[in-house]
Symmetry: none
Subunit: 214 residues, 4 copies
DNA sequence: CATGAATGAGAATTCATTCAT
DNA sequence: CATGAATGAATTCTCATTCAT
């Protein structure tokens, strides 16, 4: 898992017929774009900044992605896939409770190691997802579908208490996402001296642990 | 409570020394601004749009709020207060578990009746809160502080299971926020035909119910 | 002399039919305008600033001077007269050399006690005097005319060496003006540690003293 | 000397790494800017005007100088150097009196052939030099320093009468500047029919001639 | 592949001025 | 006398995008 999560981070697959230089540049651009878009949102981001960060001229950048939106979309597409990865390892043959708790752990870790990616997606979603096309989501949807089915079957078999599967997943996403994005802000909300004794992980385990306790 | 939440919605209290016209226009402007900012974010929003929506000339709008940022800040400030309201009704003398569950309910309702406000705050927070000044947060902080103390005392008295107070609140915020913002997107993620049997409220009650069960 | 130079400084004569309040406000406005216009030039000056400095509302200021230009013109007019005053005391019956040197002294002193006024006039003149109407200058012209005649008569009588009268006056104006306006800048040009041993007055007396020496 | 004064007039040296087009456009822009700024001052000048005069689009102009102030500064910088040129030819080995008088002549000529440049500098200086940075002045300062030393040495050696060196230079600047800037205005002040028999040059030679006469 | 040059459409402000009260 | 409210025109500057080389 960690390999796929860490490595290609932002790139999308190399396309056929591309020079090595082209592949390299695409990657560099997407990486710079991730920085910029996640920090300032779609409108706040500027192509000039991305080009500078990537060490290319604006015109050259636009040779690779001919419009701002195209670049943004490419970025989203490459992220959406990665985003779904932790879910795939949910094992039908494992212990249900253990499997789900370990999914929570994996998801939390992913969010924390990829805060920019998380922020970007959250931001896009906040705007109502105007740049996410249906097809982009299709494969993700399939995974989700199969896993909600799995959870439902566990539930039906009485191996975990009854719980609405989609809501369970959604809540996990929201809570883990939260720890990537809201972190610094939460400190400000609560004040620097707020005494938070538990780690996010401990808390989440307690929360989902008691939900899934028989 | 609901009165304060519904009514002034976006405006802040009328200030001393303000003409009637001023009060009216300030309200209209803030309302239009809420629409625009929550839909497009700070950078994506345009003063021209807000002015048009408010039925004023750009110059006239700037007569009331002399810069885009001032308008945005005024909006945030007026929202932050409202945002903290549901927390205030957490009653030290009530039944702990019942009190907390009903806070969840109130918070969820607030989020759903004020999706624009929620989106705006979330957006701001995602960017790292560059427009939120310390003082804006102070009163909110005080409420939060007193309520985390209350929860801790309940926990210490064994009236609810041990749970980290700040984390509990944070999780409630994240989850309820989620139902305002991510709703449509979640539908898209899961597919239109996804069968979600429970309502958000049912799910949240189950989740926090089991966490707080003795 | 000093009375007329010091006192009305910027005001113009009170007009018939004006309330006391009106007279007072006119004066205050002109005074504030002098500050602003002399500091930033015609274009750089803003009516809002002047109004604020005068403690009036913009609209009220425009009640007195209905356009920016009118205010500026009124200011210039009131200054031009004052500006010519030192020349009037040039005494046909005194010692020519002594009279001229003492005119230099008076002019220098005026410039230094009224730097804002000097700067304003110089600025206007630099732009080619687009706001100075012929009539404004008429009375000044008459004085100058009579005094150049006087100087010429002294020169013709051999009481001072031959020197072109208009040029003499012009040079005095330019040099004294210079000491009001260019002062700080000259320090910067020469460096803070420049050792200037003479005062402007000493230098000017030496310069004109040797020119007028028999 | 005159070559350097006439030729690059407004531009500064072409920088390394500049395209031919860039060099050309920079020159054209600076030239148009000189017209506009010298005529209306910094605030009165408009980028749109300059662009029109240069035959470029506003946006294209801003491609070369990304802000109004940058353009203005570039202009000033290129002028300041030129401005100091006549002083450099002051020859330690020549006849002191003759050298100084010929400096006056050179300076006067420069001022008259470059009235826009003179007006611009004078204007800037009148505002207190808010756009002149210390470094811009450094080289100029060095020249001035070496020349005041020279004059002082002449004075100490008794080859010219005692005169305060900085004051001497300052007076020359003020008087010559005056003939560029105040010319038309002086005509108006004195009236069209004023009989000015001497030329500026004659007058200045008389003035400084008598000051420097042994 | 890459880039310098150019641009049009808009962005936020500023500001003198007008109008009704 | 005085002012709050309103505005239109202009101004500086930004930015994604295009074009020619």
């Amino acid at each position: 898992m960690s390999a796929r999560i860490q490595e290609p981070r932002s790139g999308g697959e190399p396309r056929r017929g591309e020079t090595l230089i082209q592949q390299r540049n695409r990657k560099i651009i997407l990486c710079a774009a991730l920085d910029e878009f996640s920090a300032h949102g779609f409108h706040g981001a500027s192509i000039a900044n991305i080009a500078r960060a990537a060490g290319l001229s604006k015109a050259n950048l636009l040779y690779y992605f001919s419009r701002k939106e195209e670049l943004y979309r490419a970025l989203l597409t490459s992220l959406i896939d990665t985003w779904g990865v932790p879910l795939t390892s949910l094992d039908p043959d494992g212990d249900p409770r253990e499997e789900l708790l370990s999914y929570v752990r994996r998801k939390l870790q992913q969010t924390r190691t990829m805060p920019r990616e998380s922020r970007l997606l959250a931001n896009e979603i906040l705007q109502g997802g105007p740049h996410l096309e249906g097809e982009t989501l299709e494969s993700l949807r399939r995974i989700v579908q199969s896993k909600t089915d799995l959870i439902r079957s566990w539930s039906a078999a009485g191996r975990i208490p009854h719980v609405d599967a989609p809501h369970l997943l959604i809540s996990i996403w929201a809570l883990t996402q939260n720890y990537a994005d809201y972190d610094s802000q939460i400190r400000r909300l609560l004040g620097e001296e707020a005494d938070i004794s538990d780690t996010p992980q401990t808390f989440l385990e307690t929360l989902y642990g008691s939900l899934l306790a028989s």
